[in-house]
């Protein structure tokens, strides 16, 4: 049974059909890539699955259960967590407290318990100096906080939205290691990524979106060869 499955998912914003007839699935322990040019609807897919806004039509199944009617936090409780493309750390909180949020509300832990757990998570993802305010953190650390918060809610499915954007090569390499570590823990991970090297490195399987619809599916090597993908992605050869 796939961890996540969508059937005929559609989303309309006013006149724009941002996602059309989207059916895909992700199975346990898999890292699935969602790629596609700007405006292809990748982030919209995350928002639909996470329940940020309702779909226009179609079904979403998570661990076999239809979750269309559930609100965002209920989906999180079931095991769906995500990071945001532009980092959204919570001010007034330390890095640790940001991570704690996930444990407190995603898992319903008590404060002390959540604190312990958050320390563990920070350790796991290599986040240091966690008791300081987040005012002067580097992008890498902020991204780690994003992951940490998502992880702390003990998800079965984790969306990573443009995780590598804004990171340099070293940092990217470090982040890839973090994601690999998560995969070893049997998490299902869906990455939305622009940086192809990362997609190639991390994912077993990719779906390629263009104009809100799937235009190709398969391993990165496979899809990268397809003419349709290259066109959509790199533009037509002049």
């Amino acid at each position: 049974m796939p961890v996540l499955e969508t059937r005929g998912l559609e989303k309309r914003f006013g006149g724009l059909l941002a996602v059309r007839d989207l059916s895909f699935s992700a199975s346990r322990g898999e890292i699935l890539g969602i790629i596609g040019p700007n405006g292809a609807g990748k982030t919209t897919v995350i928002n639909l699955v996470a329940g940020i806004f309702p779909e226009t039509s179609g079904q979403i199944y998570f661990k076999g259960q239809e979750i269309n009617k559930l609100s965002t936090h209920e989906r999180n409780h079931l095991g769906i967590a995500r990071t945001f493309q532009s980092v959204r750390p919570l001010d007034h909180f330390t890095a640790l407290e940001n991570v704690m949020i996930g444990a407190l509300f995603g898992q319903g832990m008590h404060l002390a318990e959540a604190r312990e757990y958050a320390y563990e998570i920070c350790d796991l993802i290599g986040l240091k100096n966690v008791d300081r305010s987040i005012d002067n953190l580097t992008v890498l650390d902020l991204k780690k906080i994003e992951i940490g918060r998502a992880l702390a809610s003990k998800p079965d499915l984790l969306f990573l939205d443009e995780l590598m954007a804004g990171l340099n090569a070293d940092e990217t390499a470090e982040m890839i290691e973090v994601v690999r570590e998560l995969q070893r823990r049997q998490l299902t991970i869906i990455v939305v990524e622009h940086i192809m090297a990362v997609v190639r490195e991390l994912t077993q399987r990719c779906i390629v979106l263009d104009g809100g619809a799937i235009i190709a599916e398969g391993s990165y090597e496979e899809v990268a060869k397809q003419e349709r993908v290259i066109e959509a992605y790199l533009g037509k050869e002049e």
């Binding site: 040019p37 700007n38 405006g39 005012d135 002067n136 580097t138 992008v139 890498l140 443009e162 954007a165 804004g166 990171l167 340099n168 090569a169 070293d170 940092e171 990217t172 622009h194 192809m196 992605y233 790199l234 533009g235």
Partner: protein, 235 residues
């Protein structure tokens, strides 16, 4: 043309730029490279007056500008293409472009002429002339904001990470366009993470690290430096 001398910038008590000096000559395209958090955006914000320098001096054509406000600096000929675009989402593409020239006296007179020039650089903007800026895709918005900056007929153009968040095909296109702008004798300060692409455009570059200039050099020097390569070139 632009000279930054011993610049210190701080947000509150947290110092972000330390004793930084750089200069850009006439007809030069200068790159500032460095990883995220190195202080590139802060440097740019200080030059265009969005943040105030704690100490140091910035002169443009010999005139000190570090105490001027952003709009005065813009009227004086330095226009920035900010990282997060800063468009007017409820206005059309054309209105956005016109606003680029409307408040710069010397540009206002040549508005119609400049707009044709911008359209020739970015044909998509002419196609979408009547579309609201807020409804365009990220890449198109990036083009619009460069177009808007050019509308002011600046003496110097500052670009803050123009390739950020763009898909690869657009990144290539973006740098091609920058090369065209360069050929029209524009002085450019380009802040980039993407050194490889950036090196194709610049004449000379600086590398920033933790709010300081780590090195300065020609394209050759920059691309050969092993440290830079490993840390920033993404190789």
């Amino acid at each position: 043309m632009l000279e930054v001398k011993n610049l210190d910038v701080a947000y509150g008590r947290i110092q972000v730029i330390w004793n930084l000096s750089l200069n850009i000559g006439n007809n030069e395209v200068v790159g500032v490279f460095g990883p995220n958090g190195a202080g590139k955006s802060t440097l740019i914000n200080a030059i265009v007056g969005v943040v105030k320098a704690k100490s140091g001096e910035i002169t443009f054509d010999g005139v000190p500008i570090h105490n001027q406000e952003t709009h005065t600096i813009a009227r004086g000929g330095i226009v920035v293409v900010p990282q997060n675009r800063e468009l007017f989402p409820a206005m059309t593409v054309k209105e956005n472009l016109r606003l680029g020239a409307a408040y710069i006296p010397h540009a206002r007179a040549k508005m119609d002429e400049t707009i044709e020039y911008v359209y020739s650089l970015f044909p998509i903007l002419k196609e979408r002339e009547k579309q609201l800026a807020g409804t365009m895709s990220g890449g198109q918005q990036r083009m619009l904001v460069i177009g808007r900056a050019l509308m002011s007929r600046p003496k110097m153009l500052i670009l803050d990470e123009p390739s950020l968040g763009l898909q690869p095909s657009l990144v290539t296109e973006m740098f091609q366009i920058l090369n065209r702008i360069k050929q029209d004798d524009m002085v450019i300060l380009l802040a980039e993470q993407n050194v490889r692409q950036g090196l194709k455009v610049i004449d000379r570059g600086y590398v920033m690290e933790n709010g300081r200039i780590a090195m300065e050099g020609s394209i050759e020097e920059l691309s050969e430096d092993e440290h830079i390569r490993r840390a920033y070139l993404g190789v």
